[in-house]
């Protein structure tokens, strides 16, 4: 079952520039923030100054977008070194990034590109994930993508692929519930089947977010309120994880910090009575 050595940070939101003024002036009583690692893997200036202000008051967990673990280039140890240096500064309890690819040697695509679900790819990614976790000396979690293509090469459904990697590599899941829903719409599978077939005891963090429905496909836009279908999935999954830190992502068409925080707090109705044994850390203790 759930490895209880992971802290349950409570309910947090993604740290974003449009909310800085509100956060720095009012120091709202929020459990934790998630930062995008790459935004702070810089050599100087305002980003690090702002990060230090946040770290003075709040726990922070790091989430990356550029590791691209399934890429065909060798692992970038310059990148990993900077990532590890940042973990020393933030004291993040884990590091997460995406189960995707995103670059070829000499070229970066700045997107989370989907992998074909094959045994060969499982073996390839598993070995790299073990190396990353060993190097970082921290729990390493991979996030499931929202995806818009399925490959003719696929040998299995996504949940089998994802589960095989995290179990073989002995790493963890950064489970994005909105992404499960978005992918289920784009590929025509039952999201509940996805949730019933992954090792939920390996989930150390959950993402929630809004999306945009274009009819023929759903796009993971992070610019809207969480839809009811996604809340329903979250309600089903959360207790089965044994209690995992929950985070609301909102990355575009920003609303006020207060409204963003209100949206995140809706998660409480699904956490409350079902987790008598979950320790929710007081961020200020």
């Amino acid at each position: 079952m759930k490895n209880k050595s992971f802290p349950n940070l409570g309910i947090g939101i993604g740290l974003r520039v449009p909310h800085y003024d509100e956060i720095f002036q009012n120091k709202p009583d929020i459990d934790w923030f998630e930062i995008i690692s790459e935004n702070f893997m810089v050599d100087g200036g305002k980003p690090l100054e702002n990060l230090e202000k946040i770290l003075d008051t709040y726990p922070v967990a790091q989430h990356g977008v550029s590791l691209a673990i399934g890429s065909p280039a060798p692992l970038n140890f310059d990148y990993l070194k900077k990532l590890k240096q940042l973990t020393k500064r933030t004291k993040t309890p884990w590091v997460s990034d995406h189960l995707c690819w995103g670059h070829l040697p000499g070229a970066h695509y700045h997107d989370l590109l989907p992998l074909p679900y094959t045994q060969e790819v499982i073996n390839y990614v598993t070995e790299r994930a073990r190396i990353v976790q060993d190097y970082l000396e921290l729990p390493f979690a991979l996030e499931n993508l929202s995806s818009y293509v399925a490959f003719k090469a696929d040998e299995m459904p996504e949940w089998e692929f994802y589960s095989a990697i995290v179990e073989k590599a002995d790493i963890y899941m950064m489970l994005d519930v909105n992404n499960i829903y978005v992918s289920s719409r784009n590929h025509g599978f039952d999201p509940k089947k996805y949730c019933d077939n992954i090792p939920l005891d390996r989930v150390i963090q959950i993402h929630l977010a809004g999306h945009t429905d274009h009819g023929g496909y759903v796009l993971d836009t992070h610019d809207n309120y969480v839809r009811d279908d996604v809340w329903a999935l979250y309600a089903d999954i959360y207790p089965k994880t044994g209690g995992a830190s929950t985070l609301l992502e909102w990355d575009d068409n920003f609303i006020s910090f207060e409204k963003t925080w209100e949206e995140a707090l809706k998660a409480k109705q699904f956490i409350g009575s079902q987790n008598a044994d979950v320790e929710i850390l007081n961020s200020k203790s």
Partner: protein
């Protein structure tokens, strides 16, 4: 180009094909190029790699990634080059500058901050319209703002290392340098004031309104740097300050900088001699100066 020795060949093949498709520019209606890089129709080729969804054909599915690639990079360039973007307007900036730039210098770094790194170089190499010099200077200034925001701040020459405010003699032969976030500009017009006015409005505003006036009555000199509050700010400076700072940026000592100025212009040298001690104090307070003892930016 080095691939991981353990990458499965089938995976690599799919990824190379995928990258070739998504990096082809989308058209003005944001549609995928109907012809793949191989010369084959994309509809036929996508069928070989991708399964259809209940609602979308294979080429329509990869089109989503094609659009996201270009929208993300174009938005990044519009935001990091706000002056150049406004000089053209969004649409023209994309067509004339951003898309051709990205085709010649596609991103090769994991940070989006570096996407526009070579844009001034591209303007110099490829842009030949009559306003070339203006666009080049605008690009250099926008690029300098981004650079100044992120580069490190090295250990500055400290005030307490100045033995006496009017006596720089102990520092005369000490090689100096400038903070990496300090950029110097010599321009035939006041492009910084123009930029400040220009950026008060959104890009599309300037499609229907006259540009702000730009002063071009003399040669202007500017210093752009990150201040002690980590804000990137600019300051108009005199030609003498510019030339002194420029020599320091090349690793000169005070003595060497003054000797150089005397050779260029004896009158400028007299100005330097009369004002250096005051300027030096200011530059030390601003933490612009560093000792050239091997401190480097990573």
């Amino acid at each position: 180009m080095i691939f991981d020795a353990k990458v499965p060949l089938k995976l690599r093949g799919i990824q190379e094909w995928f990258a070739g498709i998504i990096t082809q520019p989308i058209d003005e209606d944001s549609q995928i190029n109907p012809i793949a890089p191989s010369g084959e129709p994309i509809q036929r080729e996508a069928d070989l790699y991708i399964v259809p969804s209940p609602a979308l054909l294979p080429y329509q599915r990869i089109q989503i990634y094609n659009q996201q690639y270009w929208w993300r990079l174009l938005t990044t360039l519009q935001e990091t080059y706000p002056l150049v973007n406004r000089l053209f307007g969004h649409e023209d900036f994309n067509l004339t500058i951003a898309i051709p730039y990205l085709q010649k210098y596609p991103p090769n770094h994991w940070s989006l901050n570096f996407v526009g790194k070579y844009l001034p170089k591209w303007v110099e190499e490829e842009y030949s319209a009559s306003d070339r010099l203006l666009i080049l200077n605008a690009a250099k200034i926008d690029c300098a703002y981004i650079d100044s925001f992120f580069v490190p701040h090295l250990t500055p020459l400290a005030q307490n290392s100045l033995p006496h405010q009017d006596d720089l003699s102990s520092l005369l032969d000490q090689k100096l340098n400038l903070q990496p976030h300090l950029h110097l500009f010599q321009l035939d017009y006041d492009l910084f004031k123009f930029r400040a006015e220009f950026l008060k409005q959104e890009p599309d505003y300037w499609l229907e309104h006259d540009f702000p006036q730009i002063q071009n009555d003399k040669t202007y000199y500017f210093a752009l740097s990150r201040n002690l509050k980590n804000n990137v700010v600019w300051k108009e400076i005199t030609s003498c300050e510019y030339h002194l700072l420029d020599r320091f940026q090349k690793g000169a000592s005070i003595e060497e900088a003054c000797e150089w100025i005397e050779k260029q212009d004896p009158l400028l040298y007299e100005t330097a001699a009369a004002n250096l001690h005051l300027w030096f104090q200011e530059w030390v307070i601003r933490q612009w100066l560093v000792l050239d003892n091997g401190q480097t930016s990573p």
